[in-house]
């Protein structure tokens, strides 16, 4: 491949006091790909997400984001979370973090925040540009809700949604920021089998539309069926990478998961 990967992480290291949570980790995601990051509990997967999204400042390492189609490489090092999102990395959270006292539609509208501009003046005077912008926000948000199948819930409070729908809303909200790369942190956690199947369809659908996705997931069946490539972590280190087929046969992976079911 000649094109640059969308996300290129190299040598990412994160220390908490004396504990090395991430150890010189390399990872890349290409345009249109679904990449999975797996590993036993406490391997440092969520820490990895927190580092690349600017919630933690990594001890060492480089994070590069390249817009597809020959855009300029952007360094994400040292950016604040909101700047990272603006540059094109959007995430969901392992323990759902919706704006629970806002409606479902408003939750998605918040995602449009970084792609819109209206400020105090616009808010008070509602000039034409602001009105058009608001209309745009509303239309895009509604379209995204339709895509994830939550349009019927648009005026419900987010906290009143069933669990699976809340996870979908998190995805919808992240999509609203128009990310170059979508980061999903255990999207299937706590879902029943039916909801998981629905989620699988949703992720595939989003991916078909050209969205690059990096996901952390424990559900091996889901990971194997979705991913183009898989990275495996243990104790903050990358222990393997490859296609689902390669990973399934990798002895290091089997060893790391020993005692845990590799169900695929």
């Amino acid at each position: 491949m000649t094109t640059q990967p969308i996300l290129d992480v190299s040598g990412l290291t994160m220390d908490f006091g004396g504990i090395r949570a991430l150890n010189t980790l390399d990872l890349d995601v290409n345009n249109g790909e679904i990449v999975a990051l797996i590993g036993p509990n406490g391997a440092g997967k969520t820490t990895f997400f927190n580092c690349i999204t600017g919630i933690y400042t990594p001890t060492a390492g480089d994070i590069w984001l390249t817009p597809p189609g020959g855009g300029k490489k952007i360094s994400l090092n040292g950016l604040k979370p909101n700047q990272v999102t603006e540059k094109g990395l959007a995430r969901t959270f392992q323990n759902i973090r919706l704006f629970s006292k806002m409606t479902v539609l408003e939750n998605v509208m918040i995602g449009r925040h970084c792609r819109t501009k209206a400020f105090i003046f616009g808010a008070i005077f509602r000039n034409k540009a602001t009105l058009q912008e608001e209309q745009g926000i509303l239309e895009t948000s509604y379209a995204i809700l339709e895509k994830v199948g939550l349009a019927n819930y648009a005026d419900e409070f987010a906290e009143n949604l069933p669990y699976g729908a809340q996870r979908r809303l998190e995805i919808a909200r992240a999509l609203a920021t128009e990310p170059l790369l979508l980061l999903l942190d255990e999207p299937a956690a706590g879902m029943n089998p039916q909801e998981t199947i629905g989620l699988e369809h949703l992720i595939k659908q989003i991916s078909r539309e050209g969205q690059a996705i990096l996901l952390i997931e424990h559900d091996m069946k889901l990971v194997m069926s979705l991913s183009d490539r898989i990275f495996v972590m243990d104790y903050g280190k990358k222990i393997a990478q490859g296609t689902p087929l390669e990973i399934r046969e990798n002895p290091a992976v089997i060893k790391a998961y020993l005692g845990e079911e590799v169900d695929a």
Partner: protein, 300 residues
């Protein structure tokens, strides 16, 4: 030189009083993560109870030693009861509410108690009876260190030792430490968290009452509003030392007391309170974890 020593002792005395109040803040914060805004009022009520009881007894002609003991006990008993009751009314129902709710409730409680004392008693400054006589053996250095200062320092040291003992060695102390580290875990190992929280409020309030009694006899007058300023300053001290940390509260209090004393002694007394507030603002901005506190990371 004498002036320096005088200021030093006056600073230590102030610091000791702040420490007695600051401990209540820090213990409560350590256990339930709440800034108990009404704590200053507990201290004020302690001082008022002591004032009322001592004056009544002296009018009825009790001997000084009996007055001191009875007034002291009354102050501690009533302040602790207030602390216990306030927790039950204003904080316990809000244990799972958003973080700011108990704080607003605490502010309301503080305003309520101030005005309750104002209405039931008076808004005037009341002369506090002299409970501590001038000890003859202090005569030669009385112009530098008063007898009251001595009593305050000694009492504070005794109280600190007792508190350390309670927290280190008694069952309830161990339960407190466990609860402050992880409340859920403490519940799981069978600690009655509600009782621990009540105990924390009772102990903290008792300490504040002792502080109230001592400062009132030191300054010689009280009114319903003394709790606000003392509360803020003690809170400053607790934050300076690192809120949640008991040695931190003592250290912070002594530092605050000494700096205040030297600043007013050598610079100017006009801006004494401005100084305390500025210190508070500066610490919270630049080192919110304080001198001995642990920085906490929010879990994502």
């Amino acid at each position: 030189m004498d002036y320096f020593i005088e200021l030093l002792f006056s600073g230590l005395t102030r610091g000791s009083i702040y420490a007695l109040i600051a401990l209540g803040y820090t213990m409560v914060y350590g256990i339930i993560g709440l800034i108990n805004f009404a704590h200053g009022e507990i201290y004020m009520i302690g001082a008022f109870t002591a004032f009322i009881v001592a004056t009544v007894l002296s009018i009825y002609g009790f001997p000084l030693i009996a007055i001191v003991i009875i007034a002291g006990i009354a102050a501690v008993v009533w302040s602790s009861s207030y602390g216990y009751t306030i927790e039950k009314i204003a904080y316990k129902p809000l244990r799972h509410a958003p973080r700011l709710s108990p704080l607003i409730s605490a502010i309301g409680m503080s305003i309520f108690l101030q005005n309750y004392v104002l209405l039931a008693q008076t808004s005037d400054f009341l002369p506090f009876p002299r409970l501590i006589p001038d000890f003859p053996f202090m005569e030669p250095i009385a112009h530098i260190v008063g007898s009251t200062d001595l009593v305050i320092l000694v009492t504070t040291v005794i109280v600190m030792v007792a508190l350390t003992f309670i927290i280190k060695f008694t069952l309830i102390g161990k339960a407190m430490r466990a609860t402050s580290q992880d409340r859920t875990m403490a519940t799981l190992v069978g600690i009655n968290v509600n009782r621990v929280i009540s105990a924390t409020f009772i102990i903290g309030s008792g300490l504040a009452a002792i502080g109230g009694l001592l400062i009132a006899s030191h300054i010689g007058q009280i009114n319903f509003y003394i709790g606000f300023l003392a509360g803020i300053k003690a809170f400053t001290a607790a934050v300076l030392g690192g809120i949640g940390s008991i040695p931190g509260a003592v250290l912070g209090s002594l530092i605050l007391g000494l700096t205040e004393s030297f600043a007013t002694g050598y610079v100017s007394s006009d801006y004494e309170d401005v100084f305390a507030f500025s210190l508070l603002v500066l610490i919270l901005i630049f080192k919110p974890s304080g001198l001995l506190g642990k920085a906490t990371n929010q879990k994502v």
